[in-house]
């Protein structure tokens, strides 16, 4: 496993949305470190805060109604939550690239593909026009777009979903970023096209050595791609572990429930485990474990305190008062 220097250090990040119906506590104290060249998977269901927390890193949430109420994001010795917006713009699309879920809505429909890729090169590099164009062509070839030279002159609507997502990846890679944040990049794609994109990302990893945050709800995608996984629930990280360890010995009952409720293509079906109940309401600041109402192991303490992340083994943390190994609550 690759473990470089920390590329991104996030501490106690909190994001709220102030709506008419009250304050939505979307992210409630998220801390993690992304290492250089590491592939980090972020798994969670809708409303778990996975997208909001990662968008908050670059202050990419609409403010208002959004508000980053606390925490720090250290990148290259500066706190991205404190620096002024012009400084931050140099980071966005420069040292930190983005890939969004829906390439149709994140590409500009009236600009050619070539224009959109060279735009960020113009902002973030010293290259002249000719160099920018040849760099754009090189990038499209890198992500395996057929007829790359031709495609530079195409508009987004002339490309298929898979091709558009390749363009998004090319754009994210344009300025050789240190970190790429990919938010459900394959969710809108068909499974054979998803496989193509995953293959490209695997291939790029060996060529480029960029660190990657891959946000998804699909436990299968993460299993084959990530070095380490964060599991989110109720706006918090509930478990964090190296990928093999997480799937082999999950420690949080939510992670375990999630893994058990996913059917496997290579195995015959039995009754699926289902996590009863519904995801938590985010309108109140959590004062207890958000998963407790659905948890098979919950006991009185779970309804009284928010469980902190507890170190299970090197690199493996879980936010739970119950020790699944011994089958008894932890004694602090």
């Amino acid at each position: 496993m690759i473990r470089g220097e920390p590329a991104l250090e996030v501490k106690d990040l909190k994001t709220h949305f102030n709506t008419q119906d009250g304050t939505v506590h979307a992210v409630n104290g998220v801390s993690f470190t992304l290492h250089e060249g590491e592939f980090l998977g972020v798994v969670g269901e809708s409303g778990s805060g996975k997208s909001v927390s990662m968008a908050s890193l670059m202050r990419l949430i609409p403010m208002p109604p959004g508000e980053i109420v606390g925490g720090s994001v250290m990148f290259e010795n500066q706190d991205l939550l404190q620096i002024d917006i012009d400084e931050l713009r140099k980071v966005r699309g420069g040292d930190v690239g983005f890939i969004f879920q829906d390439p149709m809505t994140s590409l500009n429909p009236v600009l050619t593909i070539g224009n959109q890729i060279t735009e960020s090169l113009k902002l973030h590099t010293e290259l002249d026009k000719k160099e920018r164009n040849s760099r754009a062509l090189e990038l499209l070839e890198l992500v395996g777009l057929p007829d790359a030279a031709q495609r530079l002159k195409s508009y987004p609507h002339e490309l298929s979903g898979g091709m558009r997502q390749r363009v998004m990846i090319a754009m994210a890679l344009a300025c050789t970023p240190k970190v790429i944040i990919a938010d459900e990049p394959t969710t809108a794609l068909d499974v054979t096209i998803q496989a193509q994109i995953i293959e490209i990302v695997r291939d790029l990893r060996s060529k480029l050595g960029t660190a990657l945050i891959w946000i998804t709800h699909d436990l299968g995608v993460v299993a084959g791609l990530a070095d380490r996984v964060l599991v989110m629930y109720g706006g918090r990280i509930v478990e964090e572990a190296p990928v093999r360890e997480l799937y082999a010995t999950p420690h949080h009952p939510y992670t375990k429930g999630l893994l058990d409720s996913v059917p496997r293509l290579d195995q015959k079906g039995e009754e699926l485990y289902s996590i009863e109940g519904q995801p938590p309401s985010m309108y109140t600041e959590p004062t207890s474990c958000s998963f407790a109402p659905r948890c098979p192991h919950a006991f009185d303490r779970c309804a009284q305190e928010v469980p902190p992340l507890r170190l299970i083994s090197p690199g493996h943390k879980a936010a739970c008062f119950f020790n699944v190994t011994t089958g008894e609550p932890y004694v602090d």
């Binding site: 068909d190 054979t192 709800h217 799937y247 409720s261 059917p263 496997r264 293509l265 079906g269 289902s274």
Partner: protein
């Protein structure tokens, strides 16, 4: 298709509820001031299959493969362009409107998006009660009792009957849609991507509910989905669609453990497994390119443009739909 082949398709396990023969659905493409037809989207382009009583037939495919259109045409929500659909020996493509109205009680549908398919201005009781008002002679009290029974059956609290859809979560809304579908004791239900819009932990709840109801009410399902793992879990037999054609159909384990069509093989290997160790050693077939447009499908085999093993005749001759033994049907020259 020859008579011999036709015979062997219909000799199956148990009686046939739905039988589809040479079904086509083409949507016309109109152009110009006079809206002249200049072409057609061949959404479904000649499919044959049966659905047996009490079974779940999984219908899988990627977007644009024609799987949802097939489901809609079977229920006559869209008219077929060609071919026949029989429900218990009754031909649906020529049946009268009145008779179809009768038959609809026995044939229901569960939709993908539980936000879009429930009227936001009707209470849950009136949503579930509507088919009862239209199609039964129940009085108000009997109806109320039936609504309570249905809500209990799908795992909702009967005391919530007077609430509106927006007060429920996605999973609960899907349960309301299921309660409406089973209200008239149907025989056959088309489930069109019923879990695609739901979260992982809620998907399992809904699938378990569908399985339970099938057992309790002896329902027959056509389960349309793009999620191959979930289809393996719920289906008895599975049909794989590509560009308006069924390319393979077999018993569920046979199809997943021993896929014969190169498309099924590629599809299987493209689905990520929730297991890092299995993923790291997996052999993958990555298909090149995209699905061709159904308005302009390739000649010969529809899969030929992306097929990793295609030979010359795949580009010219359409492969026959044949039984390779044990009810394992495949349309491929090389299988």
């Amino acid at each position: 298709m020859t008579d011999l082949q036709e015979q062997s398709t219909s000799t199956g396990n148990g009686d046939v509820v739905i039988s589809v023969r040479g079904l086509k659905k083409h949507f016309p493409i109109m152009k110009g001031v006079f809206r002249r037809q200049v072409g057609a989207v061949r959404a479904v382009d000649g499919v044959d299959f049966e659905i047996y009583r009490g079974e779940t037939l999984g219908l899988v495919g990627e977007s644009g493969s024609g799987k949802s259109t097939t489901g809609r045409v079977i229920l006559q929500l869209d008219d077929a362009t060609d071919g026949s659909i029989t429900y218990l020996d009754e031909e649906l493509t020529t049946v009268s409107t009145n008779r179809m109205r009768e038959l609809r009680k026995q044939m229901q549908m569960i939709f993908q998006d539980p936000h879009a398919c429930l009227n936001p201005r009707m209470t849950v009781a009136s949503i579930i009660g509507e088919p009862l008002v239209e199609n039964s002679t129940m009085d108000k009290e009997a109806r109320r009792a039936r609504i309570d029974e249905l809500l209990t059956q799908v795992g909702l609290d009967p005391s919530h009957a007077n609430r509106y859809p927006h007060e429920f979560s996605g999973g609960q809304r899907q349960r309301i849609g299921i309660a409406r579908a089973i209200a008239l004791n149907p025989e056959f239900i088309v489930c069109d991507e019923p879990i695609a819009a739901l979260d992982v932990s809620i998907q399992a709840q809904v699938v378990n509910l569908l399985k339970q109801l099938q057992e309790d009410l002896s329902l027959t399902y056509l389960f349309i989905s793009h999620d191959l793992s979930m289809v393996r879990h719920i289906a008895d037999r599975v049909a794989v669609m590509y560009l308006g054609h069924i390319v393979e159909l077999a018993e569920v384990d046979d199809l997943y453990d021993n896929p014969k069509h190169p498309y099924t093989q590629a599809l299987n290997s493209a689905v990520p497994l929730p297991d890092p160790i299995a993923e790291s050693t997996r052999q993958r077939t990555i298909l090149e390119g995209d699905i061709p447009s159904p308005a302009n499908p390739p000649p010969g085999c529809v899969f030929s443009t992306r097929c990793p093993v295609a030979v010359d005749r795949c580009f010219t001759d359409e492969p026959a739909w044949r039984d390779t033994g044990g009810g394992h049907w495949v349309a491929c020259h090389l299988a």
